[in-house]
């Protein structure tokens, strides 16, 4: 599994770190965040250091699954840990372009954080996968 790293500077209106749709809701301008999109290539069966390195305060990571057609148990566990780590450093990680088979893997795995990363209803935003 490898990844492609793209870095976009985004303004806060859709990507505020507190998750609000428009800034942080108190009239103050939203914090400018960096969004890094990383495309996963091939099967996800272990951790990817470049993804972990991308985490940081003020950085949102978008994992693009369009070229990922298999996730192993280790891969699932790593994703779960990644989301925990992201949460602890103030990053938000979202998953995009997930194929239905892999999306179903998330559904059947019953791991709420993974579903949330896909934008499940609990997250209050429309699904992105």
């Amino acid at each position: 599994m490898s990844s492609d790293n793209k870095s976009d500077a985004g303004h806060g209106s859709g990507h505020a770190s507190n998750g609000n749709g428009n800034g942080n809701g108190n009239g103050k301008p939203a914090i400018a965040l960096e969004i890094r999109t990383i495309a996963l290539k091939g099967p996800l069966d272990k951790g990817l250091s470049e993804v972990e390195k991308a985490l940081g305060k003020g950085v949102n990571v978008v994992l693009d699954f369009s070229d990922c057609h298999f996730i192993s148990v280790d891969g699932l566990e790593w994703l779960e840990e990644l989301l925990l780590r992201a949460d602890s450093v103030g990053s938000v990680v979202n998953f995009v372009k997930i194929h239905p088979v892999q999306y179903k893997v998330f559904k059947v795995a019953h791991i709420q954080s993974l579903l949330k990363a896909c934008g499940s209803p609990a997250a209050g935003i429309a699904p992105m996968c």
Binding site: Q102, V105, K107, V108, A109
Partner: protein, 882 residues
Amino acid sequence: MTTTISKEQEKALSEGVEILVRQARLAAAVWLQYTQEQVDEIVKAMTTAAIEAASELAIEAHQETHMGIIEDKMLKNFVASEFHYHQIKNVKTVGIIKEMPEDNMVEVAEPIGVILALSPVTNPTSTVIFKSIAAAKTRNSVIFSSHLMAANASNHAAKIVYEAGLAAGAPKGFITWVEKSARLRRGTELMMNHPEVDLIFATGGTQMVRAAMSTGKPALGVGPGNTPVYIHKSAPPSSAAMDVIISKTFDNGTECPSEQTIVVDREIAEELLAEFKRLGCYICSFEEVEKIADVVIDSKGGMNYKCVGQSANFIADLAGLDVPADTKILLCPLGGDIRNHRLAVEKLMPVLGYVIVDSVEEGINRALDVNYAGGTGHTAGIFSEDEAVVEQFSTAINAGRIIVNSPCCIGGLGGIYNNLNTTLSFGCGTGGGNNTSDNVGIKNLLNYKRVPKRTNFTLSFQTTKNIYINPGSLDHLRSLKTKSAVILTSKSAGKRGHLAMVTERLPSDCAIGVFAEIDVEPEFSTVESALAMLRQQKPDTIIALGGGSVLDAAKIIRLFYDHPYLNMNELAVSFLDFRHRMVEFPQTVNTQLVAIPTTSGTGSEVTPFAVLKDNVNKRKISLIDQCLLPNFAIIDANLTKCLPKDITADTAFDALTHALESLVSTYASDYTDGLALESMRLIFEALPEALKNPSNIVWRHKLHNASCLAGMAIGNASVGINHALAHSLGALFDVPHGRSNAVFLLSVLDYNSRVPRKFMPTSTYPSWVADQKYARAAQFLGLTDPGPVDTSGKFSKRELESHKHARLCKELQRAVYDLAITCNQPISISELGIDPDAYEMQMLNLVKLSFSDMSLRTNPSLPVLSEIGGLLVNSFAPRQRP
């Protein structure tokens, strides 16, 4: 014995359970991505590993449980791996697993998810091997919780197949197990109730299975066995004895399908017992039987677990019996009432009860006694060369597997002596408290998704085979092949000269009879009278000469003449879907039927319908079948020249209703549309002219053709709500059919042209097009869209089209209104002289009759009761021009 667990231990146990369940959950999720090829490679690797470890695991199982026979345990390991694999290797379990082209459907596999598998002490390693392979083949993950007394061997088996599967690419954690400990049972309880466990697959003792089934979770269980085997006198004693010995000694009798009591015909009993003895079994005396019962049956009436899987000699020693060394089975005669005998229960050991009987009936009854003494639904066996006896036995006994002329135990395992699917888990059906009586296997470890595609529906087009048209076509009668004909007609046919026109054209050597008693809307009594006449005359031809009532009656008369055994009430049973109707009409009719309509409305000469009135129940009975179609139809307008104006208009409006209803019917096709449109056009063209010049044959001919064309249309597309309303009005108020149709026509046109409240659910009608059809009809009549067309841009193209259709529908309604006014045709109920109060009083009956009329079922919209009521009300008051 209850083990108390501290809070810390409970917490540790719960955490351990969470870990196991989570591993299984993740593996179950990851399995979803595997292809059939990947799964099959994994299963092959697991099977290979199991075969290679078969003897090692057999030894371990025997050492740990102290039960059974190593060699037989090894055999079971082979059955669970090699035999099992052989049966399932080519079975599809991923994606589309079954295609059913005849049903336009496929089946797609969906794994169960996480399976908690409980394995027994009697078949520890073979059960684990079997369930592991089955779980992998179906992309499920499995957590094993084994019997405490066999946990080490069981878990070792699980480890072997797991590691082989993992090496071949299976998801990590797809097989896990509960380690042997004093808290194994508590751990199992926690897992049984864990929300992440999707299915409990329980194989074991009754208590364990019952616990699994009572969790409220989907569970596959097994039941206790108590196998009765009937040995019929036709069975060769030598092979029966050997087979029973093979079975009952297999793993020292620990297999639950093994024989527990044999029921032997007296004729062969002596020889059979001698053979048992010769082959190394010990026949006990009654006194010895009691001693055996004392040791093998516990105080609660069940088997003593200390004896389970022990040798015959071990048990004999326990009972204080002196039997030869290497005795294979202790055979125990069960005296007295077998239902009360202590030994007539499951005994997983080489102790076999027997009774001797004097007949097949007694044999089956004694077998039933055993069957219903704790092993219902499990297994039974029969040795017989008489197929009738085998069938009788199989019908009576309640067992998921009834093994014939083979060892029950190994026969029940499947794949060795027969083609049952191999299993180590025997479903017992509801008799044993299970939800299946299968040899449980991969088939039970999948969810099946059925994907039915919309059924293609083949419409057919059928009509009277030979139709002779044009004025003068009555001359065809001259060449009719008939020696004896009966003319069915009404009294007026004679007065109008129609009867003479027919009789003088029939062949000179034809014997002619006439039945002229058919009135308008006849009842069955008229049919019966006609039949009496026909049975005397015995004609080869029936000639129906008259309006719709005569033609319909003639069809029914011909049917009952050819098939006197038929029951009218049965034939008249209603149906929702013609393809599924209950009633079966005869395939053929023999008597030739010639239909000669003398009115231009019914179309009955070319339809498979016949309607009779039922005055007793105030309803109309409709018979519908292709066998009712006449052989010939003669469409000669000369017969209609003398029709009074009111009947001309009534019948023409009947034909117009046919045309309009068939056009929008859910069974309409391009074939019937063409007929309907031309019929309608002819009526609009010819009716006013025919009323102005009644004797002008050209207009009469067009009307007569229009009627026949519309008849062909409804004969294939059927009618709709207009007819349902007309039938009910006609039945309750004696209104002629054509007139009944006319008074509802405008309301129905308006109703059917609007978007339905409820669409008609039928596969023959892919989209609602009634408005388009009416619009086309309007255009076919030369009517144009009055506009205006909205150019504001507010509406989509589709909406603008809809508006245009609505305008044209209105034009059509105006055209029908204008035609009716021109022809002085009543188009509302108030014009029929029906008292409004009387009408109101009958409203409920009208609604009920209309609602249950079959005509409704091909209407383009499904009318709800309130809409039917609305139409009935709406059609009463005098009409305004739409």
